[in-house]
Symmetry: C2
Subunit: 132 residues, 2 copies
């Protein structure tokens, strides 16, 4: 029987006013734009709607010093997109921040928590279950 390990998930979100300037989804989108060379192809690769993909790009481009993604209308059908030098720098620093935060897994607090966690939760015996 496989006993899955407990997992510590760490999520970093950088807020600019009410907007999320960078977070896990936007970082993955930047990676996908680098790979795919277009915003719509990147969105498709991540299973996001066209509208949502553009909204994420729009937010990123309004929160930083300059745009993180630039589009070009010429050439290819649908236009291409590229991650700017600023976008690449922000992405790299965000990944560095994620790595630094993940360093807490080496510490004593996580070791002690990990030791007290079950591999799987017990089944629920809550009365609410029967009650609906």
């Amino acid at each position: 029987m496989v006993r899955p390990s407990p997992v510590l998930k760490i999520t970093l979100r950088i807020l600019c006013g009410e907007e999320i300037a960078m977070g896990p989804g936007k970082a993955d989108l930047l990676d996908a734009i680098v790979r795919e060379g277009s915003i719509s192809a990147a969105g498709r690769a991540l299973g996001m709607s066209y509208r949502r993909t553009w909204l994420l790009v729009d937010v990123m481009n309004r929160c930083w010093d300059g745009p993180l993604v630039e589009t070009s209308m010429g050439g290819k059908v649908g236009g291409g997109a590229r991650v700017t030098a600023l976008g690449q720098a922000v992405l790299a620093q965000y990944r560095a921040l994620q790595d630094a935060a993940a360093g807490v897994k080496e510490g004593v607090a996580w070791a002690e928590l990990h030791a007290r966690l079950r591999g799987q939760p017990l089944a629920s015996q809550q009365e609410g279950r029967e009650a609906g």
Copy 2:
């Protein structure tokens, strides 16, 4: 004019199988149970429904080595609740983990990101706005 600082939000979630064994909401609930001495009063203090409050306690009590919260039926109307020694230890270690992760704010990656962020996002000029 106030220029709010960009903010780095770090969220830690400890998973046990499909359940969240500990996270920001459950840690706040443990704090509230310590303060209020009852699960329902703690839920009210946090603006959560009775059902949701009990579900969170149920999940916590099934994911760890032992229960984090114990209830007593005698005495007070509605019964009281207390955070067990294990619950207090888990809460303290989780807070220590949060503090450790927050240490990334002292590092160079956050300093560089912070320097490139606007205090407020630019207004959206997306065509989607007019389109609906």
